[in-house]
Amino acid sequence: MKYTIPAQEVMCSGHKACQGCGAALAMRYALKALGPRTIMTFPACCWSVIDGPFPYSAVGVPLFHTAFETAAVVASGIRAGLDARGEKDVNVVAWAGDGGTFDIGIQALSGTTERNDNIIYVCYDNEAYMNTGVQRSSATPWGAVTTTTPPRHFKKERKKDMMAILAAHSIPYTASASVAYPEDFIKKLNYAKSIEGTKFLHILATCPPGWRSAPEIAVQLAKLAVQTHAFPLYEIHEGRYFKMSMNPAKKPLTDYLKPQGRFRHLTEEQVADMDRMIDERYSYLLEQAERSKPYFDAKKETK
């Protein structure tokens, strides 16, 4: 089946994103899939600025700006309010950065997911607190430099596995996505729209100022993240069954790291360390996908 990107544009021009902003691309594609019958919540994040100052708004759908740690649960409340008034057929979407998801917002997100409230949660992950000027988050990858993890003390902790945390809630659907693969992203959003319960999408969003990379290679970098296995694209169904969205032949990790200033300080040895961590994680995912094959085969048969 061939997936195409819908022609409709819900988001409009005039937003305040930086050049080459992956988060802006992610929103544009997301709204193409979600359509105008969507209500969004934004916690504090880049998008609370990108959308434009009062009275402007670039998203073209109703939007409730909310406190940093509350994107998921405000969305839960909106869904309950709509249900109480019998308003069906509206997508309720929490749209948050990695800080608002991996760190300060994880409690409310866990609550929403445990209750399986019928919302879509999209985390656009630019791998640090970019809106406040590039401070490390628990989504910042091992090895990266931020303003709070300077080169001599670069981030020594591995990126938090948010997908696994969500999966541990038996969430009906969680998937990773990339702004370099919009058809895949839109396909995943359409699937998320089609099922009840909490759906979590984790999309890698390049950030030229934060990653210290050229804006014109933003999409290329997002693609390299997938091709070097640094950011694999996969789905987890029912919190247990894994499916690789693509399994590209691995490109050298340095192809992804070299164009980014945030990794410039790493020695060859350190890059090798990082590569090992990436391979370890990738083979775990492949094993899980292999284990899950009968589930997806059975699903196909019942269709």
Binding site: P36, R37, T38, I39, T41, S48, V49, D51, G52, P53, F54, P55, Y56, S57, V59, G60, V61, P62, L63, F64, H65, T66, A67, E69, T70, V73, V74, A75, S76, G77, I78, R79, A80, G81, L82, D83, A84, R85, E87, V90, Q107, A108, S110, G111, E114, R115, D117
Partner: protein, 384 residues
């Protein structure tokens, strides 16, 4: 229908009769019975509402905001630590102009751990823009929830209905549970003119610079001031429909009183028999129970207190480094008045310390004995 119910259940009944459409709440002693009864009311179908069983009070208020922004009538309840955890989102609910109604059971703040009554939890939230009603009977709790929605939905501001832990929350009293049809007539279904609507897309709460933020605060203050009249109007209307009228304050034997006791909640109830007894002995004492604390009824307090011989204010709360809140505010209201009476500020009953009639009498007698208050805070029966 007459029914003997506890204070906490009066909140639940108030929410049911107001036809709350979404409830989001987290349990905390001494509030638990509020959410337990509401859960049962929802499960049994007596109340047609979505109940979101959240993982914290912070989320209880955040979920309430989402539901209210979507246009639903929303209710929650909490106490003490829970209210403090909500602090950030209490401001948010006001700024977002959401007419949420919340019950707060006054419990003293930890540490040390305590569950007994004190008003410092809700007093600490007096600057969040929430309107606050302090109740003093089980009936008033139930009635105040209904009235709170009627005011909140006209000014687009949230309202807190406050009651003492245990003294009110766990006390059973006979209560008139009004007919649903009468409540429906008093409080019709609410249509939020500014709700999140896919047919009218707009962004709420986006970045606002100094060129507009100031005006938004001005509007909140103006609507808060307007709510003073609305509390009086809706309280009168409530009286006409249900036979129980409510105002900004409740006065008792005030007319010719030269010494006036100002207090709130259950201490004010305890004061009534003391006033009766002292009246019989020929003392001209009277009582003002402040019911609406936010907005503070300054004009009315001036009118009621100007020219009196002496005023004593009894606070079951403390703003460390200053004094009790009801005392502070009463004093502030009277500052520019020509015949401003001297004012005594007593701190009593913190952490649920009992304030029986003899203690109330001690405070009145001490006030009558002295020409001027010795300081801003007078402690009663403190073990030193």
């Amino acid at each position: 229908m007459q029914k003997v119910i506890m204070g906490n259940h009066a909140l639940s009944w108030g929410a049911l009769l107001s036809r709350a459409e979404v409830i989001a709440a987290y349990p905390i002693t001494p509030q638990t019975e509020v959410v337990e009864l509401l859960s049962n009311m929802c499960a049994d179908g007596d109340l047609d509402a979505q109940f979101i069983k959240v993982e914290s009070e912070h989320s209880a208020m955040a979920a309430s905001m989402g539901a209210s922004a979507a246009g639903a009538r929303t209710f929650t309840a909490t106490s003490a630590q829970g209210l403090a955890l909500m602090h950030e989102v209490l401001h948010w609910a006001t700024g977002a102009r959401l007419p949420i109604v919340m019950g707060n059971i006054n419990r003293a703040m930890a540490p040390p751990w305590t569950i007994w009554t004190e008003q410092t939890d809700s007093i600490s939230e007096r600057d969040t823009g929430w309107l606050q009603i302090y109740t003093s009977s089980i009936q008033e709790i139930l009635d105040s929830v209904i009235q709170a929605y009627k005011v909140a939905e006209q000014v687009y501001l949230p309202v807190m209905v406050v009651l003492d832990s245990f003294v009110l929350s766990h006390t059973n009293e006979n209560c008139d549970i009004p007919d649903q049809s009468k409540v429906d007539a008093y409080l019709p279904k609410f249509e939020n003119a500014y709700k999140l609507d896919v047919n009218k897309p707009a962004a709420y709460g986006g970045l606002t610079g100094p060129d507009w933020y100031y005006e938004l605060r001005y509007k909140i203050q103006k609507d808060t001031e307007r709510s003073l009249d609305l509390f009086v109007e809706t309280g009168k209307e409530f009286g006409e429909m249900f036979g129980r009228e409510y105002g900004l304050v409740e006065t008792y034997k005030l007319d010719d009183a030269d010494t006036v006791l100002v207090s709130s909640a259950s201490i004010a109830s305890t004061a009534r028999p003391v006033i009766d007894a002292m009246r019989e002995e020929g003392h001209k004492v009277g009582l003002i129970r402040v019911r609406v604390f936010r907005p503070f009824p300054s004009d009315l307090m001036r009118k009621l207190l100007e020219g009196r011989k002496k005023v004593l204010v009894v606070d079951r709360n403390i703003s460390f480094g200053m004094s009790g809140a009801f005392y502070e505010e009463t004093k502030a209201a009277l500052y520019n008045v020509k015949n401003s009476p001297p004012m005594w500020g007593y701190i009593a009953g913190l952490g649920g310390r009992d304030v029986p009639t003899n203690v109330v009498r001690d405070m009145i007698e001490q006030t009558m004995k002295e020409d001027h208050p010795s300081g801003d805070i007078i402690w009663i029966g403190v073990k030193k």
